[in-house]
């Protein structure tokens, strides 16, 4: 997309307010984006610390450092915090920073609601974390909170958990409505739908998924609340309900949720690969169609998480084929990324390293997903470490690598400074090695039959578990380097040019670095 900015001077009526109230009262999409990103970083570190506890316990067979009860709380909180506190807010933060700048809008469509969607999040996670100190401990039923573990057998803190999920959901829904409205209503003249940058497209689709499924999650936790405290029997067979009903409702939310965590990554990676290949992205419109088909299909595959609960045969077959169908548009995307790089003038700055690693490692996760989608095979794999390996491959070197790539790619625009390339590359290689050493062996121990969600295991799994734990420590501690790099960049460094990257295209690269507090107060002209 090429853009001509009519009046480039953008006289800004006022900059940010001083002090803490700037952050508390802000209606500025850049401020709110920054808040989301820092919040998600904090959650990433807290959730990461929990992962370190988990891997330390699993370093050797036998019970070493935590009680089984506490172990269960750790895996539950780790999952919830990483998904709802780490990945999702990071993407919302990126959407806040980038969507208005990419489409030439002055801000998000509903700026005050934007502030509200952020500020309820810290409260939600405060409630969730405070449950650690409550009688009976924190939630211990896994991030999927299956009934009756989460109803009949749950600790009292489940009530707090339920309400904190409600708040997270409200935050996501408001954030998503804001994104949809911004994209539908605020595009500068000339930014037609099929000229929108792919990150914007990916978020339009993601936001639609969010608005469709977060209320279903709210329904699920509401039914739990009623079953626990008010005598209903949604998930209790003795009263005519069915615990499997919980799983259906949960996964009707849960599977689109995993795409919520990967579609924005698709958008990010497309931009980065395009820039560092110095070529036009291969197959723009097929990228859009692929994302749309993935999003639509994601509503009809949920029961692939439930193959072993005793579904009718017809359902197993339907959900198996529907799931496999998703591999087609996913394959289109991977093909297009590779085709974009083919014969490009490639350079491998840190964002590109993360993006290329994304393509390779996410594909590994997609392939293990295909294996899991085969019903008879899944009877073996289900609830083993193979599943853990699968979803960590799509989420860590998938979603999280894309977030890190995005930070390296856009931080010069945000802060006005270049990050330290040498340190960035170091961070990449440590993370890349760490992630593979952690999760690749989990395929082996999973195929060999090690069940997930236990603090102890049989001796035959000992070697690979130790390897996995060493990888996890490496990956975990490398992230402190990331924190250091980000802080260093924000504090100073080589000044970034406006375009930052030689091959970068798009409206956000036409404004100054750092981006002025208000951009595109009058819409730019795009042709």
């Amino acid at each position: 997309m090429s853009a001509v900015i009519e009046n480039h001077h953008d006289d800004h009526d006022h900059g940010p307010a001083k002090g803490i109230t700037r952050w508390l009262y802000t209606t500025n999409h850049k401020d709110i984006g920054t808040l989301y990103l820092w919040f998600s970083f904090a959650m990433f570190l807290i959730g990461g610390a929990m992962a370190m506890i988990i891997r330390a316990e699993l370093f050797q067979p036998g019970m070493q450092i935590v009680e089984p009860e506490f172990y269960n709380q750790m895996i539950t909180l780790h999952g919830l915090i990483m998904i709802f506190g780490g990945v999702m807010p990071a993407f919302v933060g990126l959407a806040n920073w980038l969507v208005p700048m990419m489409i030439g809008a002055p801000d998000m469509a509903l700026p005050r609601m934007n502030n509200l969607s952020f500020w309820i999040l810290p409260f939600a996670f405060f409630i969730l974390l405070s449950s650690l100190f409550m009688e009976g401990g924190a939630p211990n039923f896994g991030w999927t909170f299956y009934a009756p573990l989460s109803t009949t057998y749950a600790p009292p803190s489940v009530t707090f958990f339920i309400f904190s999920v409600h708040i997270m959901g409200a935050s996501s829904i408001m954030g998503a409505i804001n994104v949809v409205v911004t994209i539908m209503n605020m595009r500068a003249p000339g930014v037609t739908l099929m000229k929108m940058p792919l990150f914007v497209w990916s978020w339009l689709i993601t936001a639609y998924l969010l608005i469709a499924v977060m209320p279903v999650l709210a329904g699920a936790v509401t039914m739990m609340l009623m079953d626990i405290h008010f005598g209903t029997s949604f998930f209790n067979a003795a009263g005519g309900g069915d615990p499997v009903l919980f799983q259906h409702i949960f996964w009707f939310f849960g599977h689109p949720e995993v795409y919520i965590m990967i579609l924005p990554a698709f958008g990010i990676v497309s931009h980065i690969i395009e820039t560092f290949s110095r070529k036009q992205l291969f197959g723009y419109s097929s990228m859009v169609w692929a994302m749309l088909s993935i999003a639509i299909l994601s509503f009809v595959v949920w029961a692939h998480h439930m193959f072993t609960v005793g579904l009718p045969l017809a359902a197993e077959i339907f959900f198996m084929w529907a799931t496999m169908l998703i591999a087609v548009p996913t394959g289109v995307k991977v093909f297009n990324w590779v085709a974009t790089m083919f014969r490009g003038s490639l350079t491998f700055e840190t964002p590109m390293l993360f993006a290329v690693a994304f393509v390779v490692l996410f594909t590994i996760g997609g392939l293990s997903g295909l294996m899991l989608a085969i019903v008879p095979a899944d009877f073996q794999y289900h609830d083993t470490y193979f599943v853990v390996a699968h979803f960590h491959y799509v989420l860590v070197p998938g979603a999280i690598f894309s977030i890190m790539a995005a930070v390296y790619y856009w931080i010069p625009k945000w802060s006005g400074n270049m990050y330290d390339e040498r340190l960035g590359k170091l961070h990449f290689w440590l993370s890349f090695i760490g992630v593979n050493v952690t999760f690749f062996p989990q395929h082996f121990i999973g195929l060999a039959g090690m069940p997930r969600r236990y603090p102890d295991y049989a001796l035959i799994f000992a070697d690979w578990n130790m390897v996995s734990s060493i990888g996890a420590f490496l990956f975990g501690f490398s992230q402190l380097l990331f924190l250091f790099i980000v802080i260093k960049t924000v504090m100073g460094g080589k000044k970034a040019t406006d375009q930052v990257w030689e091959g970068a295209k798009g409206l956000e690269w036409t404004v100054a670095s750092p981006a002025p507090y208000h951009t595109f107060s009058t819409p730019p002209k795009v042709d």
Binding site: R22, L24, Y25, T27, N28, P106, D107, A109, L110, P111, R112, M113, L116, W119, I120, F123, I127, P156, T159, F160, F163, A170, I173, I177, V181, N185, R187, P189, I211, A212, M214, P215, V216, A218, G219, A220, T222, M223, M226, H229, G231, T232, S233, F234, N236, A237, A238, G239, G240, G241, D242, V244, L245, H248, I249, G310, P312, H518, S521, P523
Partner: protein, 304 residues
Amino acid sequence: MSGGSYYVPDQSRFPIFMAVSLFLLVMGASSTINNLDDPTSNSVYILYSGFACLFLTMFFWFRQVIKEHLAGLDSNQLKQSYVYGMAWFIFSEVMFFAAFFGALFYVRTLAVPWLAGEGSKGAAITAIELWPAFESSWPVMTTPDQGNEYDLADKSMAWPGWSKALLWLPLWNTIVLLSSSWTVHLAHLGLKKGNRKKFNVYLGVTVLLALIFVGLQALEYYEAYAHYGLKLNSGIYGSTFFMLTGFHGFHVMMGGFMLAIMLARSVFAGHFEQHDHFGFEAASWYWHFVDVVWLMLFIFVYIL
């Protein structure tokens, strides 16, 4: 997509106040619910203060938005944002109800027959072992465990047959709610023609009908509890019945409240113009949505 400049409000205190209110609200709600059988617990006051703060914040926030509107700060583009925003909000509400309707369809067509032994695998076999006496029917009057854990109802809310149709409250509720959708539409037509009196009168009638609906619904619940023995804990039928109608009733109250505010704004402050009245339109969309949900309830919860 107009070329004009879009109104981006300055810093605002409302959102953070609202966030704190919500925090108080859910902390209060969680601890109240966890201490339901402890009469000495004071958590309910946290809940009340959360509600109070929430209402206050919303009052001042909306007042601010209306003021900005009257000051002419909002462009057509901003109005369009409100239109899209409201539409997507209603869509999210649709999906919330979809979860409960989904649960209803699932238990009716799959779970309950399986519990009674239909099919040959998993659930069916377990259920036959555990509860051999259970027979599948809808409404489920006797739970699989024969009411061990649950208070069985004597009578359900289902269609009573033509002879008793006129005494059947849900029918009246349907009539009331459908007419209210019509009257709110008439009010809208009045406004569009610049006939304020017609607008006020029909909007007033709509609010009245909303009140009647809520009253009838309360009466129905009273009957259910007092005369039918049908309670929230009467097994899956009571669960789905009360949760679906309860959430609907709650939405009727919210929608009715919104319409009442619109009425007050029109009567006391002369708000809304012939061609510019999205505040009212948003409330009326919400009202039509609530109406459609009721139709679904009427068909799938009461009649079928």
